[in-house]
């Protein structure tokens, strides 16, 4: 959680806390209990908004029937899952699916042979998946270099914390074998990452996603066809063993904007994505 999130949470929680403080002014009956329940519900909604706004936001826009026009001739549907373009009476619906393939191929805890095996299979798996698809799609990999020193410092900090946890656990009389193994595994993963950076490998942040477009004579038909295409993409690429989630809400708008202007710094990218991707 970043500083901005903490600030927003603190400020808004203070209002809910203020409700608790002024509870005596609501008397001692049912009104006071209702006020407390309302304050708790507000806190719950704020927490949900912080971690899963992509569920709440489409729900609200869908209930209110709200649509957005991000640019001329384009429209974001009320369910926030497609961007529709009307070209001379034909509707082109575009949708997105997240697919972070890199951890699949470069899983750090896997042994060298396992990693090689996966890398060997990757081109075949990719081609087989593509051969089953009969509609247009794009697979995007948005990458950005990270500051080597920052990443190294962060990893070393995490390793030190894990080492401290391990020594504390081992000092205890009844240290669980499973917990010790788990911490050792975490330390080994962090050490591998540090070693890779020491060997000159550049730390890279990536965002990977699919984009597909469906066309039909009405908006609804195009969106329905798009849903079918997204499902088909999810089935075809499931062999890559990655999580393929349909993008909804504000990240849909962000990905749409990427078609015309990409972020120019890593800070910009990280500000856009924090949950679905």
């Amino acid at each position: 959680m970043d500083e901005e999130a903490i600030m927003y949470l603190l400020l808004t929680f203070m209002v809910a806390l203020a409700v608790v403080l002024i509870l005596p002014s609501f008397g001692k009956g049912i009104v006071s209990i209702l006020a407390l329940i309302l304050a708790l519900v507000t806190v719950a909604i704020i927490v949900m908004l912080n971690w899963a706004d992509f569920i709440i936001f489409p729900l609200v826009t869908s209930l209110l029937g709200m649509t957005f026009q991000p640019a001329r001739n384009y429209k974001i549907t009320k369910n926030q899952d497609a961007i529709v373009k009307n070209v001379n009476g034909l509707y082109y619906a575009t949708g997105y699916v997240t697919a972070n393939l890199l951890p699949y191929v470069f899983k750090l805890e896997s042994r060298q042979e396992e990693e090689n095996q996966k890398m060997l299979q990757a081109p075949d798996t990719w081609e087989r998946a593509i051969m089953n698809i009969g509609f247009p799609f794009k697979f995007h990999v948005l990458s950005s270099g990270l500051d080597v020193q920052d990443v190294r410092d962060e990893l070393e900090g995490k390793r030190s914390y894990q080492e401290f946890q391990l020594s504390r656990l081992q000092q205890g009389s009844n240290a669980s074998e499973t917990a010790v193994t788990e911490i050792r595994r975490k330390i080994s993963v962090l050490q591998t990452k540090i070693d890779r950076i020491s060997q000159g490998e550049k730390p890279i942040a990536t965002i990977m996603y699919f984009e597909t477009t469906a066309v039909d004579v009405s908006e609804k038909a195009a969106v329905d066809r798009l849903s079918a295409q997204i499902k088909s993409l999810q089935v075809s690429f499931s062999s890559l063993d990655v999580q393929l989630a349909k993008v909804v809400g504000r990240e849909l708008y962000t990905l749409f904007k990427f078609n015309f202007s990409l972020p120019t710094t890593y800070t910009e990218i990280s500000g856009y994505f924090d949950r679905q991707s």
Binding site: Y8, A18, Y92, T94, M119, T213, R250, T265
Partner: protein, 276 residues
């Protein structure tokens, strides 16, 4: 002060004021209901204050337009630079130029040995780290536009049909007539097969953006970044990447360029036939 901060403070302010009113009102009877209504409104504004963290870009136009169909922008999403080699998008007072680099990769896993497959995957992972700046690499599968080819086939068939008619009326040698009829049948088969199958093409490209206070500044920085990426791609794959220009750019941006119109009409007529 940023719009986002202003929106947060405005919603929080309204929330606190409503809460103060609710607290100040005396209890009892109908006033309790009023107190609760004020409390609900205060908490609603509190939720809106938090939501403004993500949705300020929607809240301001929504409040201004008070409509279900909110217009965030009525401008064209982008323009193409006068040199036709980049797209330009205006963000506030700044311009963002995006350059597309075509990567000519025509290798298939079916014709690779195990070692080549491993090398290829390593090359792809190297490609991802080719630049420190944000770069987007894309593999795009689109429906080939065969309209021009189909038209050529139709023209050939028309000309051959004329030949057959001419040969029949001239009562020429049966051999010559048979050959012309054979040719006509061959081109008819060709046309039938071409129209039956939807051909797809896979292209790979990279896109990079740069900001500038002037259009030409953004374009020249983006072009420079694109050239750096091109040299990186060239050294990894041993191919010659090129900057995409003109009409070709639209294929990577506009959805209607992914599916040619003839394919759509065929798809629609097929749907109608199925319904009937």
């Amino acid at each position: 002060m940023q719009t986002k901060t202003l929106v947060l403070l405005a919603f929080l302010g309204v929330s606190v004021v409503l809460l103060a009113f609710a607290a100040a009102l005396p209890s009892g009877g109908l006033l309790d209901i009023l107190k609760l209504i004020l409390l609900v409104l205060a908490l609603l504004f509190d939720i809106l204050a938090f939501a403004s963290r993500f949705y300020t870009y929607l809240m301001v136009p929504a409040l201004q337009q008070r409509s279900k169909d909110i217009i965030l922008s009525n401008d064209e999403a982008y323009t193409i630079s006068p040199s036709a080699d980049s797209t330009i998008h205006k963000e506030g007072s700044e311009f963002v130029a995006t350059v597309y680099v075509s990567i000519p990769l025509y290798r298939s896993a079916t014709e690779m040995s195990d070692e080549e497959k491993l090398d290829f995957t390593r090359q792809v992972s190297k490609l991802v780290g080719v630049s420190g700046d944000p770069v987007r690499f894309t593999s795009e599968l689109y429906v080939m536009n065969k309209d021009a080819y189909i038209q050529t086939l139709k023209d050939t068939i028309n000309s051959l049909e004329n030949d057959v008619v001419a040969l029949t009326s001239k009562k020429s040698q049966p051999k010559e007539l048979d050959r012309a009829k054979g040719k006509l049948a061959m081109w008819h088969n060709m046309l039938d097969n071409i129209e039956k199958v939807q051909s797809l093409e896979l292209v790979t490209y990279a896109a990079v953006s740069a900001k500038g206070t002037k259009e030409f500044e953004a374009v020249s920085i983006a072009q420079q970044r694109a050239r750096d990426i091109m040299s990186g791609i060239g050294s990894i794959f041993g191919v010659t990447p090129s900057i995409v220009t003109g009409q070709e750019l639209l294929k990577f941006i506009e959805p209607e360029y992914l599916i040619p119109f003839s394919t759509i009409s065929e798809q629609l007529s097929r749907n109608i036939q199925q319904v009937i």
